[in-house]
């Protein structure tokens, strides 16, 4: 779960990591007041769950309160499209109005999981404010990666080594050690999957400060991270994604016209791949999960059917834990409830396949049955193609 920049900075502040003075605002009026409080000269930053804001006008440096209001007028309550948001962008419901701080150097610092070793790692670079993955690709010697032994944890001596790598010495090295240890505490306390400061700046006054802040929380740990879990901003998700999440359905909105309902994440991905191979475009990824009951499956169908982009549906079920007849019954119940007339292609295999098929054939729905994945994908694509 991603946090907004302002939320991440609030966390950092609590752990003693210096961040710029700022005000979170939600209206043009508030923006003007916040800018006034900073004597007009400030940075206005759109709060969305995506990077790349700077290049598309989502981060604006202004000199007067009037300019700040103009920026707010342009940004607030409309979507901002960046390289990371997808074509529809993400809605800007709040702005962070921040003091301008003269910067001497820009560095990079983050903590995240290193999957290969199964340990957390601290990543640092003296080259901040730019894409770290690009730096790592082009000039790997400029990026330091330190994997952390969970027995020992991240220690002051590790942090001193990193400070040295960043070219910091004297009081700045000491500040860096404290900051790195604080960042690590924050990371562990909050079950983060990523904490990133990019750029971490050395101010002209000679102090370290987190100019930007990115924090993601491990979704699997939200049950024990109540406070942060409550910070979720549902406006940053497609409404159907929010709804799916409430029923514990893995759902991702995509750009095509074919609604997909599959059990199992791997099979769901494979189904999208198969569709695409047949020239079709999926409207979504949907994994109804292993232990789904009828309510959950009905809700999954409702979600598909409420997506106006969906013109046809592909159901691919491999019965194991889940029984095919349950899926069939749910499909029928959902269709009846919502009143579905869209073409549906169903492919089922595994447990109670025969019973499922029987149920579907008895129902009065626009359903085509297929035995194999490839033919099922081809069938739904064919049905949605314009008549030749």
């Amino acid at each position: 779960m991603k946090l907004h920049e302002y939320q991440a900075k609030e966390l950092f502040h609590r752990y003693g990591i210096a961040v710029p003075h700022s005000h979170l605002v939600r209206s043009i009026e508030e923006t003007g007041q916040a800018a006034d409080a900073l004597a007009g000269s400030c940075i206005v930053k759109a709060q969305i769950h995506a990077g790349g804001r700077g290049k598309v006008g989502g981060v604006v440096r202004v000199k007067t309160s009037r300019q700040a209001r103009d920026a707010a007028r342009r940004l607030l309550h409309r979507p901002l499209v960046t390289a990371q948001t997808g074509p529809h962008g993400l809605p800007v419901n709040s702005l962070l109005v921040e003091e301008i701080i003269p910067v001497a150097r820009e560095l990079y610092l983050s903590l995240t999981l290193d999957r290969s070793s199964g340990r957390y790692c601290l990543i640092a670079s003296a080259q901040g404010g730019v894409d770290i993955e690009q730096t790592a690709r082009n000039t790997p010697e400029r990026v330091s990666r330190l994997t952390i032994d969970p027995l020992i944890g991240l220690r002051a001596y590790h942090a001193r080594g990193v400070a040295r790598f960043l070219g910091l010495d004297g009081p700045l090295a000491k500040e860096a050690v404290e900051l790195i240890l604080a960042l690590n505490r924050c990371f562990l306390d909050r079950d983060a999957s990523l904490v990133e400061i990019n750029p971490l700046v050395v101010t002209e006054e000679g102090h370290l400060l987190a100019m930007d802040a990115k924090v993601s929380i491990d979704d699997s740990a939200l049950f024990r991270q109540k406070e942060v879990a409550d910070w979720r901003d549902e406006t940053q998700f497609d409404p159907l994604e929010v709804r799916a999440a409430r029923s514990d359905i893995a759902y991702i909105k995509m750009d095509g016209r074919i609604g997909c309902l599959v059990n199992g994440a791997g099979l769901a991905m494979a189904t999208l791949d198969m569709l695409s191979e047949c020239g079709g475009k999926p409207a979504n990824f949907l994994d109804v999960g292993g232990g789904a009951d009828q309510d959950k499956v009905v809700e999954a169908f409702r979600i598909l059917l409420e997506d106006p982009a969906v013109e046809g549906i592909l159901v691919n079920i491999f019965g194991g834990i889940m029984r095919c007849d349950l899926i069939a019954a749910s499909l029928i119940a959902a269709a009846k409830e919502v009143g579905c007339s869209l073409p549906i292609v169903v492919r089922m295999a595994g447990a109670r396949r025969k019973e499922g098929r029987q149920l579907l054939e008895q129902a009065e729905l626009n359903i085509v049955w297929q035995d194999k994945l490839a033919s099922a994908a081809a069938a739904i694509v064919r049905q949605l193609s314009p008549a030749p």
Binding site: Q84, G86, L113, R115, S116, G118, R119, Y120, D131, I132, E133, D149, P150, L151, L188, D191, S193, D218, D219, S220, A221, F223, R224, A250, I252, M254, V262, N263, G264, A265, G266, L267, A268, M269, A270, T271, L272, D273, M274, L275, S276, E277, P282, F285, D287, G290, G291, F318, G319, G320, I321, A349, G350, A351, K372, L373, A374
Partner: protein, 298 residues
Amino acid sequence: MAILIDRHSRIVVQGLTGSSGRRHGLLCRDYGSQVVAGVTPGKGGMNIDGIPVFDTVAEAVELCQADVSMIFVPPPAAAEAILEAGDAGIRLAVCITEGIPVQDMVLVNRALGDRSMRLIGPNCPGLITPGQCKVGILPSDIHRPGPIGVVSRSGTLTYEAVQQLSNAGLGQSTCVGIGGDPIIGTSFIDVLAMFNDDADTEGVFLIGEIGGAAEEEAAIWIRQNMRKPVAGYIAGVTAPPGKRMGHAGAIVSGGSGRAADKIAALRNSGVEVAENPALMAEVMQKALRSADIAGHDS
């Protein structure tokens, strides 16, 4: 022979008294697995359809000689359940539980580095040696005994693969679902190495997906060590970047973990990779044929 489990495996189910634990514990027993005990703290003394329940894994080991554990404990306590199995002298733990916090698994991963227990999963469907033993939630009836080892990060996609293989006459020595989480106890390479040394296995089918670099690492290992033909499939060619595709570990982030790179790496190591999921049995047959020809040539 097969790998990891066979008809002699003695299974304890951690979380036997929960609904999933009970259901799959009994299904495993129905398949022929020796399910000798269950563990649920506070429920020691109960029995589930004749299977005795204990408070600790140590008792199950001591009193019922359990050597394999199947774990259905809910996420907040699952990591501790794995550690308990390790301390109790269990040889192989299979953790089905999905949604264990990563921080917990970092610790488990570190602790198991010093212990002799092997962990499969978490967030996996378990494993099966067809005709002998099942430890997990895989559907039994699609499997056939035979010469193909299957290893996969996925669940239902594995069933799809197995059905294709069985329909094509390719039975399985052992099928191992290693799990879809970012940190798992047993990697592709671990399982490949076991299949490499297993007399009953003649070829391996590998099912990968987006996220991480486990397939790339496996590709390097295969090039250097694998003496048997390998075919495979990678799911997620069309997955959008930055989105977690169901599995916690299935995400393309910052240009790493892409399906295309994994496919290229595997092909580079001589692995036959299916163009789409309908062709899984075909590439396996192709790989077996190529190996056969190469074998005759040499």
